[in-house]
């Protein structure tokens, strides 16, 4: 089935019916492309591709950032990073956050979106309220949570006030739970975006199908599970992609709230890169390249296997 849609564009593109154009029009076309795409291309190459390549070059040197690049050490920086338990733990934390996002935030977002998609009083207000955390600046949200969750903060005070004093915790200082507290903050922050995406996806699900199902006697839950959620597939897959990449590159919320602590419990690859790359940009670059490759490989595999149907049909439309 998917093989057919994959081949679609090739079939259309093959016997191109375009008539032969005079050379003048061709050069004009290329001039246009050059003028329109050129500036963006220069910026992209200069500020994205070039830094990636430079980071890859730096990563092979023992370099403090001040001297010329002289001490080539091959893959030593990479070996050092992978032998550092602090870094391997950070990689693990990134994957825990990514996995938990998919398994917990995804279903939660779909559920809330389904509920909000019904006609009800105050729907706009609820939608806006859910989206508020996502709009807040990361640093403001992080500092607020840091203050609320500190041992003398609001969360503990509230627990005391309602007689649940036994549950008080140094939330972000307890290495056993800090990562899950961090995940809770991230869920609070990013669930709004997931819900918004799902709601947008729901607008594309034809009303007629649910009506037909209702005529056939299907209940609300049955309709959602068998019709709406499957048709929401492309939206879910693109959200999951964004969520995975976001989890792998997680930095700002962690930096503001815990700086990766306590004892590395909430450390991530990007936080490690900043902390341990200090004074040794060669090593920091190696960590950056590792982070780049992990993200790239996962992104490629995800697009190849999970999103190929979505992208295939898009490509067909573009041609």
């Amino acid at each position: 089935m998917s093989a057919i849609t994959q081949e679609g564009p090739a079939v259309i593109a093959g016997p191109s019916p375009a008539p032969r154009r005079p050379a003048k029009r061709d050069s004009r076309k290329w001039l246009e492309i050059g003028l329109l795409a050129g500036p963006a291309l220069i910026v992209f190459v200069g500020f994205v591709i070039l830094p990636v390549v430079l980071a890859a070059v730096y990563s092979f040197f023992n370099w403090n950032g001040l001297t010329p690049l002289e001490r080539f050490i091959g893959f030593d920086n990479y070996v050092r990073a992978f032998n550092d338990p602090v870094f391997t733990k950070a990689i693990g934390n990134n994957f825990i956050i990514a996995g938990a996002s998919i398994l917990i935030q995804g279903p939660l977002a779909i559920l809330v979106a389904l509920l909000l998609n019904r006609r009800m009083r105050g729907r706009t207000l609820v939608r806006a309220a859910i989206f508020v955390p996502y709009v807040l600046a990361e640093v403001i949200a992080g500092l607020s949570w840091k203050l609320l969750l500190s041992p003398r903060g609001g969360v503990n005070a509230a627990l005391e006030a309602v007689g649940l004093g036994d549950l008080t915790q140094p939330w972000l200082a307890n290495p056993e739970i800090a990562l899950w507290v961090m995940f809770g903050i991230l869920t609070w922050k990013y669930l709004g975006l997931a819900i918004l995406l799902m709601l947008a996806g729901l607008q594309g699900v034809p009303q007629e199908l649910s009506e037909a199902a209702a005529i056939d006697g299907a209940g609300w839950w049955q309709t959602q599970w068998n019709i709406t959620v499957p048709l929401l597939g492309p939206t879910i897959r693109i959200w999951a992609f964004l969520s995975i990449i976001g989890s792998l590159q997680l930095f700002d919320m962690v930096w503001v709230t815990t700086k990766g602590g306590p004892i590395g419990a909430t450390n991530t690859m990007a936080v490690y890169m900043i902390q341990y790359g200090q004074g040794q940009p060669g090593f920091g670059s190696a960590v950056a390249v590792i982070l780049f490759f992990i993200s790239l490989v996962i992104a490629l595999f995800y697009q190849r296997y999970a999103m190929r149907r979505d992208l295939g049909s898009n490509a067909g439309r573009d041609e």
Binding site: A13, L66, P151, T258, I263, A288, A315
Partner: protein, 429 residues
């Protein structure tokens, strides 16, 4: 007919993921060179009165030197140290006068050829300042001059101490432990420490290393990066025993050092903790975190305690300071400006701001803050001042060493792990 969608796909992924690495891109300031001389000067004072003082000094220098203009800017300390100055130096377009941190940092900048050798051009000033200039020397040459230098000690709440029945500040480790239990009995968090920032907690190990190691060992081991002496392990054992008495505030692993009422400085400032081990700048830090933005009346200072039965000399202290260096291509006027900054007159006015302890001996009497006076006395009585260990070892050591120390304090590491971290980091240099 290479698959267009694939190109788009790959470049989109590259764009998304490469943003992480894009963060390494540097920015550099532009310098105007139209006729007259412009001197750029970067410092770390972002708040008055010190910021205003540097601006005054720049204006006075402009008045005395027609045709010279001074662009003076204060940046947040860590941004300046870790990002702005290294990038400016690497780009070859650096400010003319900028903060230079002692020990490992001045060494690597001097070795890379970025700093002007001041040994002969400012020989008079160097002679006036005396021994405090030593940490800014590399191979006997002077590459920067400190305008402030101080030592570390305990900042404490005199009211909470007397409420807990502690009449005189502790001078030995057993006395400190006794004070801790008295404060706990009185219902106060005894010692605040900002372990989330790593370095404030790591200073506890530094101090125990000063207690465990003889002065000769300190002087020889650090430049040689040789940590084979058993005193380095002993430092961790002393710290572990002390941590086992649970002297720190609840949740100290997630407490930061300096930001907000919930930081360790904030806890002391607002009477929620009785003391904090911190550098000479802490009075200003604590003052900025009180509701009325002034240094609280109850604040007192006493030096780090001596540890009985160890090889360390109890009269040595640990400290550090802030200095200014001159870029290698800077105009001669920049050296003149540095000379003016270090003059007795400017140093006296710096002392009067209460922002720190001046390095010019003639300016010490202008210190009015009682706690800074205590620190200045402690500094004068020190038989040897060890520079902050992380500064002395160099920027590469900071995070790994400090993390290993915090691990120990969290019960997740051993004294040997700290020494192994030092050895591994030294091996990777």
């Amino acid at each position: 007919m290479m698959n267009k969608t694939r190109i788009i796909r790959v470049s989109a992924i590259a764009a998304a993921t490469a943003l992480t690495i894009g963060g390494l891109a540097a920015c550099s300031p532009a310098e105007s060179n139209d006729g007259d001389v412009t001197i750029t000067w970067w410092h770390n004072a972002t708040a008055d009165p010190q910021k205003a003082l540097w601006e005054e000094v720049a204006a006075e220098f402009e008045d005395d030197h027609p045709g010279v203009s001074v662009e003076v800017t204060g940046y947040q300390n860590e941004d300046l140290q870790r990002t702005l100055i290294p990038n400016a130096l690497a780009s070859g377009d650096a400010p003319d006068i900028f903060m230079v941190w002692p020990g490992g940092e001045v060494r690597s900048q001097a070795e890379a050829g970025h700093l002007k050798d001041l040994t002969s051009v400012l020989s008079d000033t160097i002679a006036e300042l005396g021994a405090t200039v030593n940490p800014w020397q590399v191979d006997g040459k002077q590459y920067a001059l400190p305008y402030t230098f101080g030592i570390e000690g305990f900042w404490y709440n005199t009211e909470l101490f007397s409420e807990a029945g502690i009449s005189t500040p502790p001078t030995t480790l057993p006395e400190l432990e006794d004070a801790v239990s008295k404060l706990k009995a009185a219902g106060t968090a005894p010692i605040a420490v900002g372990a989330a920032d790593l370095w404030p907690a790591a200073h506890w190990w530094y101090q125990f290393a000063l207690a465990a190691c003889s002065t000769d060992t300190l002087k020889s081991a650090i430049p040689a990066l040789d940590f084979s002496d058993p005193c380095w392990v002993e430092a961790g054992e002393l710290l572990k025993d002390f941590v086992d008495t649970e002297p720190f505030q609840d949740g100290f692993l997630a407490t930061t050092g300096q930001q907000g009422a919930d930081s360790s400085a904030g806890l002391v400032a607002n009477g929620n903790a009785a003391m904090e081990l911190m550098g000479h700048w802490n009075a200003g830090q604590i003052g900025s975190l009180t509701p009325d933005q002034t240094v609280p009346e109850f604040l007192g200072w006493f030096p780090f305690v001596s540890v009985p039965g160890t090889a360390g000399d109890p009269t040595i202290t640990m400290g550090g300071g802030d200095g200014f260096g001159v870029y290698k291509d800077a105009p001669d006027e920049a050296v003149e400006l540095l000379k003016y900054i270090m003059s007795e007159d400017v140093q006296k006015r710096f002392a009067a701001t209460g922002a720190g302890i001046p390095t010019h001996p003639g300016a010490i009497d202008s210190v009015t803050d009682p706690n800074l006076k205590l620190i200045a006395e402690g500094l004068a009585e020190s038989s040897y001042v060890q520079l902050w260990l992380d500064s002395d070892l160099g920027p590469t050591f900071g995070t790994p060493l400090n993390q290993a120390i915090v691990n120990l304090m969290a019960g997740q590491g051993t004294p040997e792990d700290i020494v192994k971290t030092l050895e591994d980091t030294a091996a990777a240099l």
